[in-house]
Amino acid sequence: MADFRLVSTQLHLNYITDEHAFVLDPGTSGELALWGGGPNGEALQVESEDPTVVQIVSVGTASRGDNLRDVRVRAAGFGLTSLSALMPDGRSWATTDFAVGFTPGRMVPTNDAPLSGEIPFVIGAAAIVPIPVPGTNGLCIQLAHRGWAPKGGSTSTLFIQDALGKRNLRLDYGYNVKTGTINYHWNQKGTYQIFGIADHTPVGTVGKVVYKSARYFKYGGRVLAVVGIALDVYSVVQSDRPLRQATKVVSGWAGAWIGCKTVGAGGAWVGSAVTPGMGTAIGGVVGCLAGGFIGYEGASRAAGRLYDWAEAKFTPVPETVAP
């Protein structure tokens, strides 16, 4: 029988019982004790598995009674290794983990990592929420048309339109009767005074990129919104405090919606100042995304704190029997 033991007066050396490991401060030395010997009383030789982490300075004789021997060690570098007490034939008779500079521990997979639908929901919301354009008497940036459309939808992918779709500026692809060619162009009705863009005005490469991006974003965004909602609902079901989590989730959704509209409107205003039409749309969507994340995060956190405060304030104290 043999084992390593902590010597009581050590300043820099500790023993972590749960981890069965010694821990030594970096750049210091310490002493531990090796108790016992081989099955037939053989003297054991102490070795470090990794001398770059911890080095054996000296192993004393059995001086502490009952076959206890001082083992002096020095920290050589950060890391985790082990010390072994070896039989004369090289077999390990006792061993212990030994760390320098940190507390050893095992990675334990957790079952309750919080899931959040924040990112997909906010991105999805930007594809769904009508983003108001300030100073236009009710025009909003949208990726869907108003009113009835033939099967297959509209040939336009980006709309800046009023609630009925009566006044609209839309990014379209198809035959342009003014140029006699098939191209990407604006169509507009009732918005010329605002954006200064006439019907059938061709758009350049940026317009083509925006047209295609809007098409993918329209459908991808809807999918992401559904995924975000599903993840958030799942987080409520999995939570150990489902009412609190539900409060946070619903507040997050509302915050994202409001943030998207508010900051999106600001982005549209800035974008309009740069490039009316294209800048309006890009600024609006970027602002919506930023506002959505801020709104979701802020509202969710505020709701959590409010819930905790209310719970502490109004949860009744259990009744106790009077003495």
Binding site: G147, L164, K166, Y175, K189, G190
Partner: protein, 214 residues
């Protein structure tokens, strides 16, 4: 529903007609089974900045059609809930109704001014039936705008022609598959144009495209 905006400061100069057109760029049916056809366009004094049919053209078209037919068009009530997010079926009676008239002003406003069935986004159509006949239609007939095979179902409901919006609503396709035929309508369009001191030009397809571009 409102009448299309007046273009008093930008008068109509020419009505353009192109019989038996074949180009797919107009985004109109060119299937022979869909009936005899004529492509209708227009040119104003100056290039227009707004999409849609000029009010002068709207009245001219409506007058020509109403002289020989009852005109039936979709009249919107409200869009189905969530229609901007997911495809929804438009139900007759609930979301829209078919409205028939022989009054040119009412027809012009209905065909070209309904925001729920926007002509300039190819969301409207006008069905022509013999004077006094009100065709029995349902929501399936909205598909006429994109499904030429639906034309075969029209003969049984006393429809003898249809006016469809072409690309961006900048042209119209007039189809006739019964009496009166397309030449009658074409002749009436020319007459109505001359009554307004507007030139009516019958062109081949390349000439039509050039004239449309101005």
């Amino acid at each position: 529903m409102t009448t299309p905006p007046d273009d008093a400061d930008n008068p109509l100069r020419a009505l353009l007609l192109c019989p038996r057109f074949t180009g797919e760029q107009w985004q109109l049916p060119v299937d022979e089974a869909f009936g005899d056809r004529v492509l209708i366009g227009w040119r104003t004094a100056r290039p227009r900045v707004d999409a849609g049919v000029p009010s002068s053209v709207a009245r001219l078209l409506a007058q020509a059609l109403c002289r020989h037919s009852t005109v039936t068009f979709a009249k919107g009530h409200h869009a189905p809930a969530g229609a901007s997010l997911v495809p929804r079926q438009w139900r007759m009676g609930r979301h829209f109704e078919w409205s028939s008239t022989r009054d040119p002003d009412e027809a012009a406003a209905g065909m070209f001014g309904d925001p729920l069935f926007p002509w300039e986004r190819q969301g409207q159509l006008a069905l022509l039936s013999p004077p006094g006949d009100i065709p029995v239609l349902d929501e399936r007939h909205l598909a006429l705008t994109h499904d030429p095979s639906m034309a075969s179902t029209l003969r049984g409901v006393s429809v003898c022609g249809v006016l469809l919006p072409g690309v961006d609503g900048d042209v119209a396709g007039l189809y006739a598959f019964g009496a009166p035929d397309s030449e009658v309508y074409q002749s009436e369009l020319v007459t109505c144009a001359r009554e307004r001191a507007v030139t009516a030009e019958v062109l081949d397809e390349p000439g039509f495209a050039r004239s449309l571009a101005g």
